[in-house]
């Protein structure tokens, strides 16, 4: 994302060290989510375990709308970043709040999905596929929740200080990277876990 805080004392490779650390962290997160996705894929087709399986209960239209909401939250996030580069502090707050709200809608959808599945008789202990599903989507939801907390923190700081300074601007950039990463992980989960037969 744009270099909002171009501070030479924090650079060694021409990129702010904090930004470099964030990219490194996000790269390592592929291993984390890769483990969870692989576990689910290994167990989803195993026979001989008590039903119901996650695939029997998926509500694709509902999950599609949740996916769309999360995709649109990436748009609002990048608009917040764009507003900051134009020093339009009021719009920064508006877009940050919109992103957090869309994230909350996504989390609400996930809570609804989980509670529906439990009512249908699929808990963490029902079978290994169910455990893998809850673990994967639950950890993703936790990442979204952490993102929401960071977004609301930035919103609060901006409101209290009347805007985000250049140093705080980098924080918005880092939170934005994290948020978009959560989105791309969901793109993979939605396709691999929900849509592929």
């Amino acid at each position: 994302m744009a270099d909002l805080a171009h501070t030479d004392e924090h650079e060694t490779l021409g990129v702010d060290n904090r930004k470099l650390a964030m990219w490194g962290f996000l790269a390592s997160e592929f291993m984390f989510f890769g483990a969870l996705i692989s576990t689910y894929l290994l167990y989803k087709g195993r026979a001989g375990m008590p039903p119901p399986y996650p695939r029997d209960l998926y509500d694709i239209p509902f999950t599609s709308i949740s996916s769309f909401v999360l995709l649109m939250s990436s748009l609002t996030m990048v608009m917040a970043h764009n507003a900051l580069t134009r020093k339009d502090q009021a719009n920064v707050r508006t877009w940050l709040l919109a992103t957090a709200m869309l994230g909350m809608v996504f989390i609400g959808g996930q809570v609804y999905e989980f509670s529906t599945f439990v009512q249908e008789g699929m808990t963490m202990r029902t079978n290994a596929a169910a455990s893998g599903f809850y673990l994967l989507t639950g950890f993703h939801g936790t990442h979204v929740l952490v993102g929401i907390i960071m977004l609301l923190s930035l919103f609060g700081i901006s409101r209290r200080q009347g805007g985000l300074s250049e140093a705080k601007g980098l924080n918005l950039e880092l939170v934005g990277l994290y948020w978009h990463f959560v989105d791309i992980i969901w793109i993979v989960i939605f396709t691999v876990v929900y849509l592929i037969p």
């Binding site: 978009h180 939605f190 849509l195």
Partner: protein, 109 residues
């Protein structure tokens, strides 16, 4: 004359230009359209058969690339950040492909 705020391009400290808000919205609409096609393919699986899985994977890859390239601005960043991020992705992909094949084979023994 100054360009209107909504269409003005954003320049980084390194002189790269980023997409305009209008372009961001166009990308979002494209992402929404690709998601709709994915869902359509899911329901059209009886008609398209084996083509559905590769088509879904290609669509997911395009969405992934759009978000990483334009929203995360990796397209405009220094090359080594692409190598760092892409390296993590490819490493995970290779390791877990081996894990899935190995465990898949063991499960069938």
């Amino acid at each position: 004359m100054d360009q209107p705020t909504e269409t003005r391009e954003v320049h980084t400290a390194e002189g790269h230009h980023h997409p305009t808000p209008r372009q961001y919205v166009q990308i979002a609409l494209l992402l929404g359209l690709l998601t709709a096609i994915e869902v359509g393919l899911f329901y059209a699986e009886p008609f398209f058969g084996d083509l559905v899985v590769p088509a879904l994977l290609v669509l997911a890859a395009v969405k992934f690339g759009l978000v990483v390239g334009y929203y995360m601005h990796l397209k405009y960043e220094k090359r080594f950040l692409t190598r760092l991020f892409g390296g993590g992705f490819v490493l995970a992909l290779m390791i877990y492909a081996v894990v899935l094949v190995a465990f898949g084979i063991m499960a069938n023994i």
